[in-house]
Amino acid sequence: MTTSAAAATKRSVPGIVFWSILVPLLNAALHAGIFIVLRDAQLQPILHAILAILWGVGGVYTIYWSLNLVIELYPEKWKRRIQPFLFIGPAIGLLGWLLLVPTVRTLIMSFQDAGSSKFVGFANYAAVFTNRLLLTALRNNLLWVVFGATACIVLGLLIAVLADRSSFERLAKAIVFMPMAISFVAAGVIWKFIYYYQPGDEQIGLLNAIVVAFGGEPQAWTSMTQPWNNLFLIVILIWMQTGFAMVILSAALKTVPEDILEAARMDGAGEIRIFFRIIIPFISGTLLSVTTTIIVFTLKIFDVVMVMTGGQYDTEVVATQFYRQFFMYQNFGYGSTLAIVLLIAVIPVIVFNLRQIRKQGEI
């Protein structure tokens, strides 16, 4: 290694400049070439898939590797300055292009008209908070957060506590956690079989079959029971997300020291009192972070509504309304404003995260 470092210092300046220009150019040409060939070639689908995966996985590594070869040519002092930027450069570049700059651009677009051609001040914001459709979306998002998030946490905690004392903890946790792994789209299909409605006594939706069996009238749960239909959609979220809360809270419960609990029992405290006075305060940190995670997740809910009702029957939420404004009406002004409303809603969580991390001394 020392020899190669010595060799590097000996290398001439024109040589370094030559390689510093050639290697990035070669990289750009090579990958642009592969992209065009793969896009235009009429290959057998499986072969195409294999080639695409190989390129996608290997390409990024070869870019790092080849650029690093160039940097190794530089004198030691420069190498130490430039190398960190090779390491973080792609990450910062992607984040800047795909998240940071777009956030600013969306913010600007939220003050412009539908075609982003002239500034309209706060008109879009005024519309979001007065237009009936958009207001419904805001109201529904609030319903999702209040009922969905609360139910996930409460049920998750309940199941975690029950599982802790039961004789089949692992099995129960796996069952409740499993929906976490599947997509909201698949979950939507699953729940269509629960909520399906047709008139008459023969029902293929489970919920209506139960209602009919008890002598009730079948209901069109996700469409006609406004505004309660939102709650039936929220149940799907609860079914999927409770497992997440349960797993994390269950891990936190296990950290409560047994001797504190024993001492409290000796003093004659009941189980319920112990739960609220000792266990809850002990896991409050975890409880808070799980709550914020689920709230952030719930705020952006999209797939469930899209698959179950498409946003009809007053089930529109901010994310579906965003999609509608953006894609169907091409109204970039409203679309951007809705995205910014979502962003404002998560700002407290951003602040909370930063504080948490500063407390842990990670920065």
Binding site: R39, A91, L98, L99, T106, I182, I190, I350
Partner: protein, 364 residues
Amino acid sequence: MRRKSRRTGSKTLVNAILAFICLIWLVPTVGLLISSFRPASDILKTGWWTVIPHREDVTQDRIQLPKDTDLRQPIEVNGNTYTDEQLRSGVKAPDGSTLIWENRRGRLIDVQKPGWTMSKNFTLDNYAGVLTGKTYVLKQPDGSERTEKGSNMSRAFLNTIVVSIPATVIPILIATFAAYAFAWLKFPLRKTLFIVVIMLLVVPLQVALIPVSNDFAALHLNGTFLGIWIVHAGFGLPLATYFMYSYISQLPKDLFESAFMDGASNFTIFTRLILPLAVPSIASICIFQFLWVWNDYLVSLIFLGGQEDVQVLSMRIANLAGSRGDAWHLMTAAAFVSMLMPLAVFFGMQRYFVRGLMGGAVKG
């Protein structure tokens, strides 16, 4: 002694409540699984739970009336008379059986008696329809037949794999490089840039969609695999960087110093030392990112668009669920096919999965 018995009593109660909750949690998925193996006409006619043995009126016998029976007059069956109205909704005969029209025009009556029954028709046709696009004959509830083309999802399955694997590997490789630099290298603006990464953790991706989609349209990246890899990489990066940082920054300092003493460059340290050491963490975040991409719908919807040859599973299933309300048989099988991969990951690598998820707790 008394205390112990009270404990076991409460344990039984806990077990019972938990078992009930688990049952509720399982029923929806089981319903889908069973439905996906039922013939299309059965799915639309009876609930999936009819595969469980249950008591129901079962047809024991059939009575053929003369073809010229006048339906407007009282109809005589086995010595008793009934009206057409009664026979349509079913009527009790004196011997306890129920009489109901099987075929009113053919003047055929079913004699039903309560008995144990279960629906026993199972088929693999739904899966065949979804996986190979094979055409098959569908029996309508009214007896007519209709040929239906299955929708070929094998292409969508392949596309989902082509999207998911690079969209997992690329961001995690980039993130691990960045995490190493953030943890162990010195460069200007290090803290500021890291704070930016933390801030981006929960930024809803909706704020990025419109501008990025405009950029992609200008670059002709919409509807290409490269385009969707890039967006998934960008949206997955903050979490992956943060997750890898929290692991790499906790490695002992001596490790690097001794490697530096031996004259190893940062790149060698990274590839020979960090990557192998970080394998468990990388596995966890990989699983999280992989499932995230596999299950994603919104990003694919916007950046892959309507072209059939690049569409992924979630889009095809959502289309089925939205546009063809009657394609239940295809929907069930397709949904289950899309769930195979996540469920395999879930049951095979539960430990890594949970860890990735807990790390992902901060992601929005």
